[in-house]
Amino acid sequence: MAESSTLAQTIRDIVQRHQKLPTRLLQILREVQDRLTWLSTEAINVVAEELGISPAKVRSVAEFYSFLYTAPRGSYDILFSDNITDRMLGNRELLHYLADRLGVAINGTRADGRVSVGTTSCTGMCDQGPAALVNGYALTRLTKPRLDRIVELVNAKTPLEQWPREFFEVVSNIRRADILLGRHFADGAALRAVLKRGPEAILEEMVKSGLRGQGGAGFKSAAKWQSCRNAPGEVKYVVCNADEGEPGTFKDRVLMQDYADLVFEGMTVCGRVIGARQGFVYLRGEYRYMVDALKATLQRRREAGLLGAAILGDASFEFDIDIHLGAGAYVCGEESALIESLEGKHGVPRIRPPFPTTHGYLNKPTVVNNVETFASAAKIAVEGGNWFASRGTAESKGTKLLSLSGDCERPGIYEYPFGVTVRQVLEDCGARDAQGIQMAGPAGHMISAKLFDRRICFEDLATGGSFMVFDQRRDILDGIRNFAHFFVHESCGFCTPCRVGTSLMRDLVDKVHTGHGTRADLEEMRKLGQIMRVASHCGLGQTAPNPVLDSLDQFPESYERRLRSTAFEPAFDMNAALEQARWLTGRTDPDAYLDEEILSRAMP
C-alpha cells in the first residue's frame, strides 16, 4: 500500500512538472520509466488518470516505442547497437560475452532484477563502435576489458554517474570540412541579418541558395518556408528533425554536439521568416547523452539575447526552443510521424495532403527541416544564397555531410560539395578494397564497384548522409539480412504491405541465407519488393525492399552461391520440425528420416 502510494506520488509529480499536458505524454513516460525501470499497468493507469486520457491510449504509446518497457526490466538496461557496422566490429561476440559474464540471457533480465542485456537499432556511433546504450546513455568503443569493468560496476551497483567518463566519450571525427563545418560563424550573425534585411529578403536568399532538404528527400527548403509563411494562422511552429535514425548516419549527432548554436540559429531565422514563436528539436532517444549540454546552450542563448523574448532587443522578435526526446522509433524520422510523436502519440505517419506546412504540429502550419538544413540556412542568411549556390551541381547546391563507416581506415564526417564521386570519397577515407557501398542507409541504395564513378547529388545518388563501406572480405548477404530484420523491427504496423511485407521479406532472406532458398524464392523477393515499394503508405515501407532489390541486381552471386539446385523448397524445414518427435521417440531407423545426410550422421 505504501509502495503504491509512493508510485502514484512519483508519477503525479512528474505529470505536474509537465503541466498535465497530453502532448508531453512521451516525455512523461520516459521520466516515469527512469524512476521505476518499467511501465507497469498500475503506472500506466496513474498516468492516464492524471492526464485525463484512456489507459489504452497511454499503453498504445508505451508499446510503440522500443525504449519504453511494459514488462520488468533491469536497473541497468544495456542495449548493443546492432547495425551491420557494429557487427563488422565484432559486436555479436561482445554481446554474448557480456551476457555470459553477467549471467543474463540475451533480451532477458537477470533474476535479481539488476540488469538486462539486449540489442537495438543503430545508435549512430558507427565510426566509434562497437557501441551500446546503458539506460539510454551512449557507450562507445566497447572491448572485452571495458565489458569486464562494466560487469564489476553493475554487480557493485555503482551509479552511472560514477562510471569512467571515457566509456561515454563521443568524438566527432570531422575528417573533411567545407563551407558548413569549416568557416567560422559568429553567434547572432544570422539573427542580425534577418532583423536588418527582413524576412522577405532572407527568403529570397534561400531561394537563390537552392538549398534542399538535407535529410535526403531533397524538397526545396525555400518552398517549404514560403508555403508555411503564406499559410493562414497566427500560431506556427518550427521543428528540427534530429531523429537521425537511418543506420550508418551520424552527421546530425556531430552538428548537435559541436554546432548546436548554428542549428538553433537556423531555426530562429526560420521562426522569424515564417512567423513562428516556438520551435522544437526532436532529438532521437539514442542521443539523450547530449540533452543537458543542449539545454545549457539554449539557456546561454537566452541570456545573450539570442533566444526567447525580445531577441537582439527587438520586442517583435520572439522565439524559443524546446527539446523533445524520442524513444526508439525509426519511423519518427518521417516528418508527419515525427509530428504525431511530438504531440505525445505513437508515431504513425499521417495521410498527406495536407502537408505539415499548412497542417502540422497541433494542426498548425509547421516547417520540419533536418538538422543540417537549419545549419545551412543560418549560413545562407549571413553569407547569401549565391555564396552557397557557388558550390555543388546544377540541381544540388552547396555541400553535403557524409557519415563514413564500415571498412575504411578513417571513418567519420566528410563534408563535400555535391557532385563528388563515390570513388573520390572512398579514396579519401582510405577504403582500398571496397566491393560495395550501402548509400543513404538501408532505405537507400546498394552500389557495387562498377558504379563507383557515380556522383553524390540529387540528380544521381541522393543521400541523407549514410555511407557504409563493405570490403571484399564481407558477405553482402549478411548486410542484407541485417537490414531486412531492421525493417521488421521498425515498421510502424499501420499499412498492410509494410507491416506484413517486411516480415515476409525477412523470412525469405533468412531462408536464402541459411541455404534453403531456390531460384523461385529470388523471384518471390522481387515480386514482394515491388508490392511494398508501390503500395506502402510512407517512405519506410516504400524503401524497405531496396536492399534486397538492389543486391539482387548488383550482387546476384551473393544469393546464387547459396541456392539449392531444386526448383522449389518448402518454407519450413522438415527435419527441424521432426527433430523433437525423433528425440522423444528415440527413433533412429531409416523411416524416421527424410534426409540421407542426417541419417548417415545419426547411424554411422
Binding site: 484512456s54 499503453r59 521498425e490 504496423g493 498492410t496 507491416r499 517486411t502 515476409l504 503508405h537
Partner: protein
C-alpha cells in the same frame, strides 16, 4: 465555370466535387473500387491499401487521394489487380482465416474482395499467430484471429457510439486490436450488438452469440452476387443479408 470537373477512370468520365477523393467520386458514379478499411461513413484511413489505383502513372490509395480535373485513373488493369491480390494474400497469412468454418463465410467483405481480385490461395507462408478469443461479453464474441487492423470498429465506437471500446496497440507486426478496459475484456465494457462498432467489421472478428449459420453457406450475400454488384456487407441491411441495423 459551369462545367463540373472530371477525371477518367478506366476510360470512363467521372465528375467530382471539389474536395472529393477518387474513391468518393467513383462511388457516387456507381463504379466499384475494392476496399476494406474504407467505409463512406467514416474519415478515410488509408491503411489496407487495397483501393490502390494508378493515378497519372503513380500508385495511390484512392480513398485518400483527392480527385483532380483531368486525372487519368486506372483501376481494373493487371498491374493493379496483381498488387491488390498480393495485399489480400498478406492479410490472409497474417491472421488465422479459416473460411470454411467461419460464421461470416459468404457474407465477409475480406473473402468477397479476395474473390473479386482473383485470389485463389494465400500463396505466402502462414504466420499462424496465437490470438486468444474473447467470449467474456454476454452477447458478443471477438475472434482476434480474423482482425485485419482496419480500425473501423475503433472509429465507429469512438465517433458514433461515443464509447471508445477498441484501440490498436503495439508496433509493426505486433500491432493488435485491444479492448479498452483494464482487464482487456469486452465483457467489462458497455459494448452492445446494436452499436455501430458491431456492424462495421469487414471480417468475422466481431460476432453475435446465441445465433449462427441461420442462412446456409451457399445462399449468403456474396454466394449469390459478387461484391462489386451488391456492395459492402456493412452498408446493407440485415434483412438483405448485410450487417446494418435499420
Amino acid at each position: 465555370m459551369s462545367e463540373e470537373p472530371r477525371f477518367t477512370l478506366d476510360g470512363r468520365t467521372v465528375p467530382f466535387q471539389d474536395g472529393q477523393t477518387i474513391m468518393a467520386a467513383a462511388l457516387a458514379a456507381g463504379i466499384y473500387i475494392p476496399h476494406l478499411c474504407f467505409n463512406p461513413e467514416f474519415t478515410p484511413h488509408g491503411s489496407c491499401r487495397v483501393c490502390l489505383v494508378k493515378v497519372n502513372g503513380r500508385m495511390q490509395a484512392s480513398c485518400t487521394t483527392p480527385a483532380a480535373a483531368g486525372q487519368v485513373v486506372q483501376s481494373e488493369i493487371d498491374e493493379v489487380r496483381e498488387i491488390r491480390r498480393g495485399l489480400l494474400q498478406m492479410l490472409f497469412v497474417e491472421g488465422n482465416h479459416v473460411c470454411p468454418a467461419c460464421e461470416k463465410s459468404g457474407a465477409c467483405q475480406l473473402q468477397a474482395v479476395a474473390y473479386y481480385v482473383g485470389m485463389l490461395a494465400p500463396h505466402y507462408t502462414h504466420f499462424y499467430p496465437r490470438r486468444p478469443v474473447d467470449a467474456s461479453h454476454p452477447d458478443a464474441l471477438i475472434d482476434f484471429n480474423r482482425c485485419i487492423l482496419c480500425e473501423l470498429c475503433v472509429r465507429a465506437s469512438r465517433e458514433v457510439d461515443g464509447k471508445n471500446v477498441f484501440a490498436v496497440q503495439g508496433r509493426g507486426i505486433k500491432a493488435h486490436l485491444v479492448v479498452n478496459t483494464p482487464s482487456g475484456k469486452l465483457g467489462a465494457t458497455d459494448f452492445s450488438l446494436s452499436d455501430k462498432a458491431a456492424q462495421v467489421c469487414p471480417t468475422g472478428t466481431i460476432l453475435s452469440k446465441h445465433s449462427g449459420y441461420e442462412i446456409p453457406i451457399g445462399q449468403r450475400l456474396y454466394d449469390r452476387k459478387p461484391i462489386n454488384v451488391v456492395g459492402d456487407v456493412a452498408a446493407l441491411a440485415v434483412s438483405k443479408g448485410g450487417r446494418r441495423h435499420d
